[in-house]
Structures are given as structure tokens and as C-alpha cells.
């Protein structure tokens, strides 16, 4: 048996005794080689002693005035106390309850867990119970503008890594008791806090139960990011499409809660999951609702065009230049042909080269450290630029196609959905290269069938377009005036 397992077993089997030294030793064994643990011992009368145990950095030791704590103990237990009674406990607790949340635990294992998540444990001679003061004080960064979802008009606050801060960001937008929060813990080693939040009476009861059930089922060693949770609770793991909404924006989460969705907040990540996720919801931004509705509608239509072109533009180019020249207007055909004259590759290879180069550049731009980043844009401008044409490797019409595809894929409000379409572009190009427009049609049909088949927590992925709920289309295909959207739609 490994030593760590031994320790764990000892911890789970140990019951607290009335002897401080024994308890203290047990804590020391469990926290063996944990350099961040702090012990302090003190005496509250001549014969009897006590001890504090806290984890540095997790529990904020300055949050409780140690002297105050000692005084509280001393004044509640005057004289030599032989047997500690319920009265004593109540007295201590009432003296401390104004400084922080306090509780008593008679289970050793629970006390250890509480210390690990930031409690100050107070051991007292003669007590078989441990006083736990919640002094959780994790280092966090300040609330900043979300890096991945910027807006022109709209609130600038974004989630950060601390779950309670994130919850407060939601709470301050919904001052109602209907907003419910249920806490879960998942991850055998990480013990990550997960909060499920929804608006009671607006979110469907069946959806809430389903989400709770799936989150409760999670069995994993550690959860480092909400992506773990997403993958563990989604309906179809064999699909390129994201089936939940992931966002850094509190206003987006609240907007979705108002539509009857359920949000899952995971500790240590600014990315909050909203379920069920549908295709059209992934194509919306909160700003659609802040800007004037004419403009917002136009931008939504622009986004639909972007979706189609990011998927189809390169493959249409391949299909038309390889199989269906006759469809290209004559003058355009001549100019395409003349610029393709010097290019040695077939259209498919040419397009594949450029698309792969472009995807590579994008990926490099994300990973590179800031100071080097400029280098990428310079190289990028050369590779996907006039130099490539001058070198006779690609034709200039293709360059325009690749750039337009790039622009289109930047228009996706959801990065995850954009990734799916970027990926699907490549099979689409293969289909176009082998079967022309017919191949594109067949692959599009296949994709459509797949998307229509997808469900997220019982909600069809393509709803409300299909299955059709005509009343809700006014907030999908365009954005109607708020006068007409007042009633929040229900997810079902």
C-alpha cells in the first residue's frame, strides 16, 4: 500500500478524541510534508491548551483576529473546565459568529476537508469536536473585460477564476429569490466546486433535474476547466458541434437564465457553461440586444452569411474551377484562368495549401508570446499575400477566397462553433474536389441531417427553426424590437 493511501485510510478511520495532543498529532500525520500548513498553539488557562490549524493562502489567517479568538475562548471557558459542555460550545460560537461563519464538526475527515478548502480549525483540549471558522481567502485577479468576448456597447465586467465572485456577478443582475444556486463538488483529487444556477419558475423542472443528475454523475480525478464538465455532460460526444454555450460574460449568462436555461459555474475558470445550447443561440451576442434592432438584425444576417461562407467558400471555388466552369461568368472566368495559368497545382491542392497555412498562422498567433506575435503577422502577410502570388504558388482569386473565409470565421460569436466550421471546411473541400457541386450538396445534406439529429438536454439543436416554432423566429433570424420580445421565451 502506498504511504499516501495509508494516510488516507488512517484519516478516514480516525475519530476525534478528547485529548488535544492526540488530535493534533493526527492532523500532523495527515498534513505530513504539506509545507503550506500552519499550526499555532495557545493556552487558554494554565492546564488546558488549544491549537489553530490553517492552510496558508487558502485560508486567510488575517481574516480572524487571533487575539480575539483566544479571548473568546478564554472568556467562555472561565476557570478550570473539566468537561466541556454544549453550553461552552454555544458560548464560543456566539462570540465568534460575527467575525465569520463558524461550525462544529465531530468528524475528523470533514475537518480535514474543510481545512483544505480554507477553514481555520480550532482544536481545544477536552473537546471531541473541532471548531471550524470559514476564513476562505484565495488570491484572485480583479474583474476585467472578457478577453474573448468584447463588445462596443455593454457591460465590461467578465467572470474570473473565483466561483463566489462569479456568482456575485450574476446575483447582482438578478435581485430575486427566484435565482437558485445549488452547489456540487466533483473531482476526487481536485474537489472542484460546481454551482448550478437557474431561475426557479422559468427554467423547466425536468431540465434542472437532468442537469443535476448529469453533474452528480461526474466521476473524474480532477476538473481543471469547465471543458471537462462540458464533455462529461453533453449528449453527443461524437459530434464536431459544441452543444453547450460557453461564455465569460455575466450579462450573457443572465440573459440565458431569463430564457429558462441553466448555467453551470465551475471554480477556477472564467468560462461558464449554459445548457441547453442550440445552434442559433451560439450565433448570438449580448450586444444584439443592446444595439438598435435594425442594426442588430442586419448584423445577424451578416453572421448567417459568414456561417455559410466560412464553410463553403473554398469548396465552391474548387468545385466551380474544377468541374463547372460554365457557371462562372465569362469575363470572370477569363481573369481567373489567366491568373491560374502560372500556378502548377490543381485548385484543390492550391486551396488546401493556403487554408492549412492560414489555420497554422491563426494557431501560432494564439500560442505565441506577445513580443514575438508581431513576427507572425509579418510572415503571415507574406505567406498569405502578394508574395505567394508573385512566386507562382497560388492564384490571386484564391487568395481573396481564403481571406474572405478567414474574415467569415472571425465573425462567429462562439469560438467553439467557429472551430467546428473551420474543421468541417476541409472535408467539404475534399468533397468538392471529388464530386464538385454534387459532392458539396451531399455533404451539406449529411451535415444538416446530423445537426437536425443533435439534441442538447432534450432540446433539438436547430430549434426553433426546426422543429418550427414560428413565434420564436423573430429572435432568431433577426432581432425584433424589445416591445415584441418582452416576454422571455421558454426553452423546451
Amino acid at each position: 500500500m502506498a504511504p499516501s493511501e495509508q494516510r488516507e485510510n488512517a484519516a478516514s478511520s480516525y475519530t476525534l478524541s478528547a485529548d488535544l495532543n492526540e488530535n493534533f498529532k493526527q492532523f500532523q500525520t495527515v498534513f505530513d510534508k504539506c509545507g503550506d500548513i500552519q499550526y499555532r498553539q495557545f493556552e487558554w488557562n494554565t492546564a488546558q491548551r488549544g491549537a489553530f490549524i490553517v492552510l496558508n493562502g487558502v485560508g486567510d489567517i488575517n481574516a480572524v483576529n487571533m487575539d480575539l479568538l483566544k479571548q473568546a475562548v478564554e472568556s467562555s471557558l472561565t476557570g478550570a473546565v473539566q468537561e466541556l459542555t454544549e453550553e461552552h460550545r454555544a458560548a464560543i460560537q456566539s462570540k465568534l459568529s460575527f467575525t465569520s461563519q463558524t461550525s462544529w464538526s465531530d468528524d475528523f475527515q470533514t475537518s480535514v476537508e474543510e481545512v483544505l478548502s480554507g477553514a481555520l480549525a480550532v482544536l481545544l483540549d477536552g473537546f471531541t469536536q473541532v471548531l471550524l471558522l470559514n476564513v476562505k481567502g484565495l488570491e484572485t485577479r480583479s474583474i476585467e473585460e472578457p478577453a474573448t468576448e468584447a463588445v462596443i456597447r455593454g457591460p465590461r465586467d467578465g467572470f474570473q477564476e473565483n466561483i463566489s465572485t462569479n456568482i456575485s456577478l450574476i446575483r447582482r443582475r438578478l435581485k430575486t429569490t427566484q435565482l437558485k444556486l445549488e452547489m456540487f463538488t466533483a473531482g476526487k483529487l481536485s474537489g472542484t466546486d460546481i454551482a448550478i444556477t437557474y431561475l426557479e419558475g422559468i427554467a423547466k423542472e425536468s431540465l434542472i433535474t437532468e442537469v443535476k443528475e448529469r453533474v452528480g454523475r461526474i466521476q473524474i480525478d480532477a476538473i481543471l476547466e469547465s471543458g471537462y464538465v462540458e464533455e462529461l455532460i453533453e449528449d453527443h460526444s461524437l459530434s464536431p458541434f459544441p452543444q453547450v454555450l460557453v461564455t465569460e460574460r455575466p450579462d450573457k449568462v443572465v440573459g440565458n437564465l431569463l430564457e429558462g436555461k441553466v448555467a453551470i459555474i465551475v471554480d477556477n475558470t472564467p468560462f461558464v457553461i449554459v445548457v441547453p445550447g442550440t445552434f442559433f443561440q451560439l450565433l448570438q451576442t449580448p450586444e444584439d440586444y443592446y444595439q438598435r434592432y435594425f442594426v442588430a438584425s442586419a448584423i445577424r444576417i451578416l453572421r448567417f452569411i459568414a456561417v455559410v461562407s466560412s464553410l463553403l467558400l473554398p469548396s465552391l471555388y474548387i468545385a466551380l474551377t474544377t468541374y463547372h466552369h460554365e457557371m462562372i461568368p465569362t469575363m470572370l472566368l477569363i481573369s481567373i484562368a489567366s491568373s491560374r495559368e502560372t500556378v502548377p497545382f490543381p485548385a484543390f491542392v492550391e486551396a488546401l495549401l493556403m487554408e492549412v497555412a492560414f489555420e497554422g498562422l491563426r494557431e501560432a498567433g494564439v500560442r505565441l508570446p506577445r513580443p514575438v506575435g508581431q513576427g507572425v503577422s509579418i510572415v503571415g502577410a507574406l505567406v498569405i499575400g502578394q508574395a505567394a502570388v508573385a512566386a507562382g504558388i497560388v492564384s490571386s482569386p484564391l487568395l481573396i477566397i481564403v481571406s474572405m473565409t478567414g474574415i467569415a470565421s472571425f465573425l462567429f460569436p462562439s469560438f467553439q462553433l467557429g472551430l467546428a466550421f473551420r474543421l468541417l471546411r476541409f472535408p467539404m473541400m475534399i468533397a468538392a474536389a471529388t464530386f464538385g457541386l454534387y459532392g458539396i450538396l451531399m455533404l451539406v445534406l449529411l451535415l444538416l441531417l446530423h445537426m437536425l439529429h443533435l439534441q442538447s438536454f432534450g432540446v433539438p439543436y436547430m430549434a426553433p427553426l426546426s422543429p418550427l416554432r414560428a413565434g420564436e423566429l423573430k429572435d432568431v433570424l433577426f432581432r425584433a424590437n424589445w416591445m415584441k420580445l418582452k416576454k422571455s421565451p421558454r426553452s423546451s
Binding site: 468541374y323 463547372h324 460554365e326 457557371m327 461568368p329 465569362t330 471529388t434 464530386f435 464538385g436 457541386l437 454534387y438 459532392g439 450538396l441 451531399m442 445534406l445 449529411l446 444538416l448 441531417l449 437536425l452 439529429h453 433539438p460 436547430m462 427553426l465 426546426s466 422543429p467 418550427l468
Partner: protein, 362 residues
């Protein structure tokens, strides 16, 4: 459960009934009176469809196929019922053969036809595995899109300046004779009699009821669409070319020419056709699979999907050596065959009468 809504049924039916006429034209034998022939066929076709509807109405809860054993008894009913999946498979094979003839000869001249059919069949097989629900949703999404493309097409044709309304007159100058000739039996069987396969999906409509009204609506919409397109084709080409063209509607798309910029849209026409053929083949194969499932009392239809799609693939690949044979068979031989006429028109009428009488007795 694998159910569809009424709206989805409407979308499926409209696409199904317009179907391949979008390329092959409809009733072109009647020349400039073809649109009139279409309208008459539509009215008679609606009557035929009402027969199917009332059969399923008189035998609630049963699919169309199951009515035969129930009403005609095991010995007479079961063999008749078994003819249906065979018929559906045959027609599905015909449509696959349509693809086999049209696609390689128009947009993909160098590609082997088995490859073209293979991916067609694979997509259909996938759709069959996903079930009717997904197909209903697909139809629901595609129908408005097709409508939009059609409107664009009409606008483009109008702006191409090729329409000559004089081509439509004089009306009925050669008498009613040639109109009746295309109406019976081809006009009634094509699109409307073929809606027999749709009868197999009516039991999947939820909420129940008003299937008849939905079907009438879809038939009238599809009929008027075909009539309008026919009239447009005649006014563009004139009677003679229209009658002789193999693919009159395809030619219609080719006629588009706006300012010498938007021209040669034939490939889009073929894509149109491929989608229509896709949905039609799907419905036929679905009907065939469900019939076999009901007749063999199988729990699930999954195990039939593979064999049935493979059969359709082989049928489509081998059915017709060339376009001429294919079209001649489709237009001159099949509609007059006793199996077609009796399964689509006469036996359903008898079935309806028997069902009605037996219900009255009870």
C-alpha cells in the same frame, strides 16, 4: 417515438409531390395545354389521395399496409400487402436511376456513376438510420429555402426577357383529346398516385388528425406549382421544343441569362433535382422498410435498412442502360402496367369500400 408534426408532413408532401417533375416536366405531351392537364390531374389526384386517407381513417392506428390483411383476410390480404414494398423498392430504384442518368451526363461527365450513386445511397442510409423525425425537420428547413430559390429563378427568367405569352395560345386548339391522354393514367399516377408511399408515414404524425386536410393542401400547392412552371416553360420555348425536350425544366434553367452575367445555372438545377430525388427515394425506402417491418412483425426496422438501400443501389445502377430507355419505360410502359394501376387506384378503392361496409355492419 419517431414522430413528425403536421407542418413537417406538409413540407415532406410538397417536396415529394413536386419531386422529380422539377426536371422531367409534367404532362409535356399535352403541349401548350399541359398546365391545364396538370390542374385536372391535380383535382383527380386529390380524389385518389382522399381514398388513401379514408382507408387509414377507417382503420385507425394501422399503417396503410396493415389494412389489407385486416380487411381482406390473411390469405388474400397478405400477398397484396407484400406487393407494396416491392413496388416502393422498384420506384426507389427508378429514382436512383434518374440520378444515374442525369448527374453524370450533365455536371460530372468524368466521374464513374457507381461512385455518384454510392454517396447518394450512403447519405440516404444515414438519414434512414436517424429516422423520420430528422427527415421531417430537414424538409421543414429546406422547403422555404427551395421556395426562395424558386422565386429567384422565376425573377431571373422574367428578367431574361425570354417569355412570350403568345406561346400559350390558342388554348385547346387540338381539342381535349391530348389533355385526357396525359391525365389518364400518367398524370394521376405521377406525383399523386405515388403519394401511396406517404400513406405509410401518416401514422407517425403527432398530434393525430387532420392528415387529410394537410394532404389536400400540399397536393393543391404542389399541383399549382407544377402547372405554373409548365406554363412558364411553354411560354419560353413554345409548344414544339417543350414537347420534344428530355428535360424541359432543366432547359428552362438553362434559358436564364441576365445581362450576360448570370448564365448557365444548369448545375443548380441538377442540385435541385438531386435534393428532390433524395427526399423521394428516402420516403420510398422508408415506406418499403416500414412495410416489411409491419408484415414480418419485426420489433425494429434497423436490420432492414442496409439490405433495402443496397437493393435500391443495385436497381438504380442496372435498371436502365441509357436515358432514352429509362424515360420511355417511365412514361410509356410503367404507368399502363396493371400492377401500377391496380395497386395505386383500383385496389385502394375496393379496400375503402370493404372497410366502409365492414365498419357499417359492426
Amino acid at each position: 417515438m419517431d414522430t413528425i408534426s403536421r407542418h413537417q408532413l406538409l413540407a415532406i408532401s410538397i417536396i415529394y409531390q413536386i419531386g422529380t417533375t422539377i426536371i422531367f416536366g409534367f404532362a409535356s405531351g399535352a403541349g401548350r395545354d399541359s398546365w391545364l392537364a396538370v390542374l385536372i390531374s391535380t383535382v383527380l389526384g386529390t380524389a385518389i389521395i382522399m381514398v388513401y386517407v379514408s382507408v387509414t381513417h377507417l382503420n385507425p392506428g394501422l399503417t396503410y399496409i396493415e389494412c389489407y390483411p385486416k380487411q381482406f383476410g390473411k390469405w388474400l390480404g397478405t400477398p397484396i400487402a407484400w406487393l407494396h414494398p416491392l413496388l416502393f423498392l422498384y420506384i426507389a430504384g427508378r429514382i436512383v436511376a434518374d440520378i444515374n442518368n442525369l448527374v453524370p451526363s450533365t455536371i460530372l461527365p468524368g466521374t464513374p456513376s457507381w461512385a455518384i450513386l454510392a454517396i447518394f445511397i450512403i447519405v440516404i442510409g444515414y438519414a434512414l438510420f436517424l429516422g423520420l423525425k430528422v427527415m421531417g425537420r430537414l424538409a421543414e428547413i429546406i422547403l422555404p429555402l427551395l421556395g426562395l430559390i424558386y422565386v429567384v429563378e422565376v425573377v431571373l427568367i422574367l428578367s431574361s426577357g425570354v417569355i412570350d405569352l403568345d406561346n400559350l395560345f390558342p388554348l385547346l386548339d387540338k381539342g381535349w383529346n391530348r389533355v385526357w391522354k396525359v391525365v389518364w393514367p400518367l398524370g394521376i399516377i405521377q406525383s399523386y398516385g405515388e403519394s401511396l408511399a406517404l400513406a405509410m408515414i401518416w401514422t407517425s404524425v403527432k398530434p393525430k388528425g387532420r392528415v387529410g386536410r394537410t394532404m389536400i393542401l400540399s397536393t393543391l400547392l404542389a399541383g399549382s406549382f407544377i402547372a405554373y412552371t409548365d406554363a412558364m416553360a411553354v411560354s419560353v420555348f413554345g409548344e414544339e421544343i417543350f414537347k420534344r425536350a428530355t428535360y424541359p425544366m432543366y432547359a428552362l434553367i438553362q434559358a436564364i441569362n441576365v445581362a450576360d452575367f448570370i448564365t448557365q445555372l444548369d448545375a443548380t438545377g441538377v442540385l435541385y433535382f438531386c435534393f428532390m430525388a433524395f427526399l423521394k427515394t428516402y420516403i420510398y425506402l422508408f415506406a418499403a422498410i416500414r412495410s416489411i417491418q409491419k408484415l414480418t412483425y419485426a420489433q425494429s426496422n434497423r436490420s432492414f435498412i442496409m439490405p433495402v438501400t443496397v437493393i435500391a443501389f443495385v436497381l438504380g445502377l442496372t435498371m436502365a442502360p441509357n436515358v432514352i430507355v429509362h424515360i420511355t419505360v417511365v412514361e410509356k410502359i410503367v404507368p399502363y402496367s396493371p400492377i401500377y394501376l391496380s395497386l395505386m387506384i383500383f385496389i385502394p378503392m375496393v379496400l375503402m369500400a370493404v372497410s366502409w361496409l365492414r365498419r357499417k355492419q359492426v
